[in-house]
Amino acid sequence: MKKILIVDDEPNIVMSLEFAFQKLGYKVFIARDGSEALTLINENIPDLIILDIMMPQVDGYETIKQVKTNPAFAKAKIIFLSAKSKPDDIEKGLSLGADAYFTKPFSVKSLTTAVDNLINN
């Protein structure tokens, strides 16, 4: 069973994503911010991380940097899911090593399709 880690501080969005991915057969982990996420990754390396950028304590940028510096996490794909939608923001997100960048508001279907593609390739 493929594992997905959702990192977002918006409980309502997390709830929708959790429902959608569980229905598709993924095992879903949830973190409310970057530091929680890093603890979870250490215990259990996910196949894919859906990462918000603006969160309390440790933000998405910091989180991806930590993940990318540890070769043990190399197999984890990362998708940014953020309200930050300026070209500069997207470019920055991708340059940090994210595999895809989704802006809020987003289509659940597009996101799940992208996740499927990333995990199965």
Partner: protein, 896 residues
Amino acid sequence: MMPSYAIILVIVCYLTLLFVLGIWADKRARSKWVHNPWVYSLSLAVYCSAWTYYGSVGIAATSGVSFLTIYLGPVIALPLWFIIMKRVVMISKQYQVSSIADFISLRYGNDRSIGALVTVICVVGVVPYISLQLKAVSETFDILSASKEQASIYMDSTFYIAVLLAVFAALFGTQTANASRRRSGLMFTVAVESVLKLVFFIAIGVYATFYLFDGTSDLYNQISALENFEELTTFSNMEATINWYFMIALSFFAIFLLPRQFHASVVENTDVNHLKKASWVFPLYLLLFNVFVIFIAWAGKLLLPQELNPDYYILYLPLAHGHKLLGLMVFLGGLSSVISMVVISALALSTMISNNLIIPYGFLKVLNKRNPVANVKSIKNIRRVAIFILIIGAYFFYVNFNVQLSLFSIGLIAFVVIAQLAPAFFIGLFWNRGNGFAVKMGILAGSIITFYTLALPFIADVFLQDSLFVAQGPAGITLLKPHMLFGLDFMPPVTHAFFWSMVFNLMVYLIFSVIRKGDYRERNYAELVVNASSYGDMQENAFVWRGEAYVPEIRKALVKFLGDKRTTRALDIFYRKYGLDPKEEKADARLVNFSEKLLTGSIGAASAKLVISSVVKEQPVTLPEVLKILEENKETIRTNKQLQQQAYELQRLSNSLKIANESLIVQDKQKDEFLDTVAHELKTPTASIRAASEILADNDDMPVALKQKFLDNIVADADRLGIIISNILDLEKLSSGRETMDKKPHQLNNTLTKAVDGTYQLALKKGITITKSHLENLVLHYDEDRMLQVFTNLLSNSIKFVSDKDGIINVNVLERDNDVLITFSDNGKGVPQGDMKYIFDKFYQSNNQTIRKPLGSGMGLAICKHIIESHNGNIEVDQHFKDGARFYVTLKKHGL
């Protein structure tokens, strides 16, 4: 009466006291006690000599109101005096002018013969005037000691008093060779003497009016019973009226031209601004001096025997009533006016004699050969000797011409002589055509008339015992009768002499000024003086000179008179001022002019010109050239000023544009950030709604409970969107200042209660306790709806962050002197340390931060801050409170 030796002792003590005072003041020349406009204004009262002190009562007793003229002149003149003196002082400071002779000779191109002529006029006018002072001392001394005629000068106390005065003047007046340097100590003693003489004079006035009589009306009733009373208090006819006006004009000139007056007001002026105070203090002083004159005169007429000299009524009055001490006081007051007049006059004249007579006519050659130390000594010695000769000369004049001329008439004759300088001085200040030749001719013409109409009759009368000369004219020619020249028969001798001498002097001056052109140098200085409106106009640039001059030679000449140290210092300043190279051998016009100015202070304008022209080779410049160069200089200065002004304006404009631009950039950036943040804030709940809706649409088979959960989320997020939108609009309205607060008096307690009640349901649901302190009848001015919004926001935040059941929120009100402190504290999780700084900023995190703030929309506290600040209050979070969150709201009691 008093013994002579006792009076002499008092005089010596008094002079010693003045001397000590002078030395004290000299050491504190820059202190606020010595250097102030009051001392300056009072020192101008050197104008009030013994003639004023004793003579005005005499004239009031014999001729009535005409004594007022010598005061009315200066009083009327003062507005004009202020304007003219400002310019004269400015020019004199710039050119180190040390006397009226220097000033007039400077105006007419540093001509030595003009300086000499003015000096002679002043000596002729002032020496009899000084002798008049000695006469007053002598006579009052005799009255006080009741002594009779003295056998020889060795026995004559006046001689010793004259010597004492000369010593006093020489000691104080000639401390430095630079005559234009201020003598602060001396002028301070003059100011003190002015106060003393006024106080003593008023004292005797009060004594005569209120002690000897029952006030002014008693005096008036008694005097009006006398037969010739009418004559003394009114103008009897046209002649008296004309006489009155001429006397006023005469004393008007005197206040500008008398050497001691010029010395006190120009040479000793330390600050041009002091003129302002003097222009009202001095007339006030004169007014005070005159209040009691007429009453003392009446009292004397009523109480004293006919044969007593009315000039000394103020001394006779107390003595006749046995008040010896008061008599001595009056004597000291008179002595004060004598000392200040004699010392300052002698000092001014001695400077003129040394700088305008002796040095430029012959002695310069001697000085040129000697070393600087010897020169300084020689110059000082010349002045000291001059002081002695002047005062002792005045003494012998008094001894030999001790005729029964009253104090008043000798004084007036001196005024007429000095008045001969008036055309050269006044017209020269404003008319650039007036030239040196015209000055000399005018003064000569005026002097001849004065001699013929005033001195000659006197000589004829006293020495030749020839009364026919006055009565019938020379050789019986009636038109040339000295007191009725050209048939002018309705004026008293002095007025008559003044009238004709002025007519001739003025006509000759004007005619020669128009028909003759002065040389270029004269015209150069004329332009300088006439156009001087600021110090800048008088700088070395304004001086035209062409020729060959070498710095070492000029330097050598300067060193001879100033010494090595002063010369080096002065030249250093000069080089720095114009940014010149000190190694340059050739001197330019500026250095030549500067050197002349430097020397003027020590040896006078005319001698300075002689010294400098002896070491430089000057090429004559034609008058049109001079005028052209001056015009060009002026034009350049004007253009420079304009350019400077424009450059300054441009600079200012560009600065304000820069500031405006910067603030626009900041505003633009803020607007961008704001829009960005607004979009961002709206996106999160929108994303949440969209995701939940999509899930609901695609999953019909979802359990009802879960479906309900998703629907609830959608409703909550839609609500959140609504709140965010209204907050954004609210905040925008508040920060743009468009929202005005509806401030009215409200009970703070009521508003707090409303806020607590409003959140009661919420608190109850979480099981939270809210406690509130009571402070009844505390009325503040505020917009209640807005204040309620702040309180509710703070309470809601607390409710959100305290834990269920054991959460406690406390609202406390504390009244202080000027404000009220409202504290909202809770025992929740508190504001994270890192967020403290940002919680009051609207969406601070959007671009610079990716750390999200803990509070929903992030705008609630920003709105609170705006509202409180609109009430001139303050809201802050306690950064050190560890057991939860604590917010302070401070509201001013007044001035909301």
